[in-house]
């Protein structure tokens, strides 16, 4: 066990975690050069396309250190985006230390701090690593200063490297061996393993990713999942070397996987403890903090026959995304579906795309919402995250919406533009600090509803990418709210309804109509779109019908070509939802929230 080191690489988004992981992997030679690709751990298509890490990824690296001994380094690369913080915190539960990567040019950013705090909560050894020192704009001195003043860490403990240029990699490896403590635990004790992730494999059933804290597990053992007492016979154990690699056994200190023919997807929960049936551990390991979704939206299959498929897929998907929560829901316009909670809009976007890609589903997402609080005349307090459940307006005596504290770091020159944006978003109680010359830290209290919609994109664009943004939920505050419904050709489309601030209701109504006009393609008949609040039409627009689309000539030689064109169109149409004979594209439901400044 002395030869094992378990650590995560954590950082703000894009500071180079996955690239550093690449260099560590290459240094230890577990992958042939010709099989190598950049950010090799980002193995989902969606990660490669977007150039960001979404899932934490474990890899076990054999390393022969300068002290002449061989070590197994269990590296976990984590995502940097705030929406995936839950991935980071779960990874940290399996580790004794972290590499806290800081971009030499950007310095300390919001998620650098947030992730540092997470590591501290877990009592982990922290190695600050200043990355991208090859950049001409790198300012290593300033970062060292920040490590001291902003992170409160000993500035002498830092390492310098360039993950891209491969500078300083050996020093990083040596520091891992020297400064991160080996795992504790007793291989002879009763088995206690923490499930930190899982993935459904259609051949093998659920593959459980776990960290063994005590005991040993091998093929043939009967394991028990503490949460529901389900028992399974272990078929295979092993660790991750980019692919799964079978091992004889896993014991205390190891990070690896267990395959136990678990076909009942709901048996496996991240955070649960695995023990042995015939020799259980005295008490389960502390699990994970419960996730608190902040954005809610409903998912419906485009074709209602796909409902059971969707249900099944969500079950499997949930295994691999512990931060995703859902429950049954139904809509008058869209039929049976699920109400889902997300950690942010990027999370929502990623979930939608992964469901479509990995499970080959065509789905519609309703307009996202935050969770509001209503106090009714009879004293009941009601939380509503679904506009469909908006209470009878006459019965409401108090409506409240969640507020956040938004902390933004930005170069001073963007201050004006950002303050204007915050005010437009109903921000209040601002404070301004200068942690270092030229860099401003701006804090505002803003309704969450305003932030989840298009705040992030606009913030990035007004700061030209130089700003970072982080937030905490603070409290609920009284607010005047109204329910905005959308009618398409006279029919209410409940999935397009939103709860809005009354003062902005008219503007929101207009905006929704305009966005829908852009998103809904012209059809063979006129489409009327109306925004309605409490029976009163507050906005309207019309999409005129197209009158001619037929090709002039269609003889023997034209038919195949024409059919191919129509087949393509038909495929596109399959991705639209028919509501009262109007085809509404997927994109319309999210577009409703976009403002026209984009």
């Amino acid at each position: 066990m002395d030869s094992i080191r378990n650590f995560s690489i954590i950082a703000h988004i894009d500071h180079g975690k996955s690239t550093l992981a690449d260099r560590l992997i290459q240094y230890t030679g577990i992958v042939e050069d010709r099989d190598f690709q950049d950010q090799i751990l980002d193995n989902m298509d969606i990660e490669r396309e977007r150039g960001i890490t979404i899932k934490s990824q474990v890899v076990s690296l054999p390393y022969c250190a300068k002290d002449g001994r061989s070590y197994t380094l269990n590296l976990i690369d984590t995502p940097g985006h705030v929406d995936f913080t839950y991935e980071v915190s779960r990874s940290l539960a399996s580790c004794e230390g972290v590499l806290l990567v800081i971009d030499a040019a950007q310095g300390v950013q919001a998620q650098t701090l947030a992730n540092l705090y997470l590591a501290m909560e877990h009592d982990l050894a922290i190695i600050p690593v200043i990355n991208k020192i090859d950049l001409p704009s790198a300012d290593v001195e300033r970062v060292i200063e920040q490590i001291d003043s902003e992170l409160g860490l000993d500035p002498d403990t830092h390492l310098k490297c360039s993950a891209k240029a491969g500078i300083g990699i050996e020093e990083v490896l040596e520091a891992i061996v020297a400064r991160i403590p080996p795992p504790k635990g007793d291989p002879a004790a009763p088995l206690a393993a923490l499930i930190f992730d899982a993935k459904y494999d259609s051949f093998r059933g659920t593959v459980i990713h776990c960290r063994i804290f005590d005991g040993t597990v091998k093929a043939g053992d009967i394991i028990r999942l503490v949460y529901n007492n389900a028992t399974h016979r272990v078929e295979e154990v092993g660790h991750f070397l980019l692919q799964r690699q079978k091992l004889e056994s896993l014991s205390a200190g190891d990070v690896g996987y267990i395959i136990a023919g678990v076909k009942t997807v709901s048996d496996v929960r991240t955070g649960d403890t695995i023990t042995l049936e015939n020799r259980p551990c005295p008490k389960p390991l502390p699990g994970f903090k419960e996730v608190k979704p902040v954005v809610f939206a409903s998912i419906y299959p485009i074709a209602s026959d796909d409902y059971t498929d969707l249900a099944d897929s969500l079950d499997k998907f949930k295994l691999n995304d512990a931060s995703f929560v859902y429950e049954k829901d139904s809509s008058a316009a869209l039929g049976q579906g699920f109400r889902c909670g997300f950690l942010g809009l990027l999370h929502l976007d990623i979930v939608q795309e992964r469901l479509e890609r990995e499970y080959d589903l065509s789905i519609i997402l309703s307009v996202p919402s935050v969770r509001y609080r209503f106090t009714l005349k009879d004293g009941t307090v009601l939380f509503v995250d679904n506009p469909t459940h908006y209470p009878e307006p006459m019965s409401i005596i108090k409506s409240e919406e969640p507020y956040i504290r938004a902390a933004m770091m930005l170069p001073e020159r963007y201050l004006g533009a950002v303050m204007k944006l915050c005010m437009e978003k109903r921000g209040v109680n601002s404070t301004l600090n200068y942690p270092s010359p030229g860099r401003a830290e701006l804090v505002y209290e803003v309704p969450l509803a305003e932030v989840i919609f298009d705040f992030y994109d606009r913030f990035k664009s007004v700061t030209q990418g130089y700003g970072s943004f982080d937030y905490d939920l603070i409290d609920y505050r009284e607010s005047s709210l109204a329910l905005l419904d959308i009618l398409v050709n006279g029919e209410k489309v409940d999935a397009l309804s939103q709860i809005v601030h009354r003062e902005r209701a008219r503007a929101r109504g207009l905006q929704a109509c305009e966005r829908l006009k852009e998103e809904i393609p012209r059809q063979m008949f006129k489409i009327a779109i109306q925004g309605v609040i409490g029976g009163e039409i507050i906005s309207r627009t019309t999409i005129s019908a197209f009158r001619k689309d037929v090709i002039a000539k269609c003889y023997g030689g034209d038919i195949s070509r024409k059919r191919k064109l129509l087949e393509k169109q038909k495929k596109g149409k399959k991705r639209m939802k028919m509501i009262g004979n109007v085809s509404i594209p997927q994109s319309a439901f999210l577009a409703v929230l976009k403002s026209d400044t984009e």
Binding site: M524, F546, K553, G557, I559, Q569
Partner: protein, 439 residues
């Protein structure tokens, strides 16, 4: 055996069991009587296939033309012998054909003896049924007494003349090699020779210069009345009027489609010219149909109008999945489930045949869903529409049951109607036939 012997070349199968074409023969005017079951219908005779010959030669390229055709007439002899070889390859394709269509390109650029010889070759290789419709396309500038006499000798009984416009400016814009007057003369001459079945091709929706300017200056005799677009429309109405005055049996009125890489498309791309907008195009379409119907022409397909009984029998096969054999470069053939098309390059076509190969570029076997989609978009192009019962039998879908809501909605919008067991597009419906197919 009730149908023609389909000895399809290549993948030789004709899936009778999955797709029963024998049930599909229903005459236009008399919808099927409701009492008749499918088994009785399937005993009706099959419609005979059609034969198409592609002549890939033109004297010069028109400004809007995206067809593959060449201007090097020296290839005619090699082309003719290649065509003879191709005929030999498909000799047994069908027992007989009841339509023959010689199109192009410009068939009328062939020397008389070549055209006559070619038709003789066809008659040697294939059986053309008695009373068959035999059409040749001709350019007005090529029409001479000699040509007409030779066509009559060959048994050609339908002449389709590529007039395109009776406005000389429009003809110049299109890059045609004849004038309006020439066309009028040619038509009279054809009539005088005794041809009774005459069709004219016309094009509308031509681009014009943006916002009145340039065109007006270049043509001082024409003061812009309102807008360039209005004038454009007026020019078309005048052409239509002239056409009606000449009393042809058949009129094809095509809205101009800009084909990529043509000189006209380039001028539009550069902004020198602009096409009428979609709404304007729809006006052209609807008004044209109205005028022609008032003059006694039936609007039987999106772009085709005919005196009763003068509809193109050949073209109708394309729209109802009747098999056809196409010979010559770029020609398409269809045999119930397979469609294949020839190499479009004349050289490659000749080369293949000289080395004894089928000159086929590619082929596809249509699955049920593809056939269904074709039946829909082709059916909605025709005024006859789609026979619901036949559609159910042939393509295995009950349209009315599947799409009731949408059909009701579109009927309410005046785009579709159900009459006598047919789901047919109205005039406005025909204009959006492609979208109707996707309901």
């Amino acid at each position: 055996m009730s149908g023609p012997a389909f000895q399809t070349a290549g993948t030789g199968f004709f899936p009778r069991d999955s797709l029963d074409f024998s049930a599909g023969r229903i005459s236009e005017e008399t919808p099927p009587t409701t009492g008749k079951g499918p088994s009785e219908q399937s005993t009706e005779p099959d419609e005979l296939p059609g034969l198409y010959i592609h002549i890939p030669f033109c004297l010069r390229k028109c400004a809007y033309c995206g067809f593959y055709s060449i201007t090097d007439l020296s290839l005619i002899p090699a082309y003719r012998s290649a065509l003879r070889r191709e005929m030999a390859l498909y000799r047994g394709w069908a027992a007989s054909f009841d339509t023959l269509y010689i199109g192009g390109g410009t068939p009328s650029v062939l020397p008389e003896e070549d055209l006559e010889g070619l038709i003789a070759d066809i008659r040697t290789a294939f059986t053309i049924a008695a009373g068959a419709e035999i059409t040749v396309e001709a350019n007005p500038a090529d029409i001479t007494e000699g040509l007409l006499a030779s066509l009559r000798r060959s048994g050609v009984n339908r002449l389709n003349i590529g007039v395109q416009s009776f406005d000389d400016d429009s003809l110049a814009l299109l890059g045609r090699r004849h004038t309006a007057l020439q066309a009028i003369g040619a038509i009279q001459q054809v009539r005088d020779t005794g041809f009774v079945n005459i069709g004219l091709d016309l094009i509308y929706g031509l681009p014009s210069s943006p916002a009145g300017g340039a065109n007006g200056d270049m043509m001082p005799h024409r003061v812009p009345i309102c807008t360039e677009a209005d004038r454009n429309f007026a020019t078309w109405l005048a052409t239509l009027d002239t056409a009606i005055g000449l009393d042809p049996d058949h009129l094809s009125c095509y809205q101009l489609t800009l084909e990529e890489k043509t000189p006209l498309a380039k001028r539009c791309r550069l902004g020198e010219l602009i096409l009428p907008g979609e709404s304007r195009q729809a006006d052209f379409f609807l008004r044209t149909a109205q005028i022609l119907e008032e003059s006694g022409y039936r609007h039987y397909e999106v772009s085709n109008f005919a005196r009763p009984g003068r509809e193109s029998r050949h073209n109708r096969k394309y729209w109802s999945h009747v098999p056809y054999l196409g010979l010559g470069p770029a020609a398409h053939s269809f045999s119930g489930r397979e469609r294949r098309w020839n190499r479009s390059s004349v050289d490659a076509y000749i080369g293949d045949l000289e080395s004894g190969r089928e000159p086929v570029e590619s082929r596809e076997i249509l699955n049920d869903e593809q056939l269904r989609l074709e039946a829909l978009f082709l059916g909605f192009r025709t005024r006859r529409g789609i026979c619901l019962e036949t559609f159910k039998i042939r393509y295995g879908r009950d349209l009315l049951a599947d799409k009731r809501d949408m059909i009701v909605r579109l009927s309410g919008e005046g785009l579709l109607e159900i009459r006598d067991g047919f789901l047919r597009p109205t005039r406005a419906g025909m204009a959006v036939a492609d979208s109707l197919a996707l309901i």
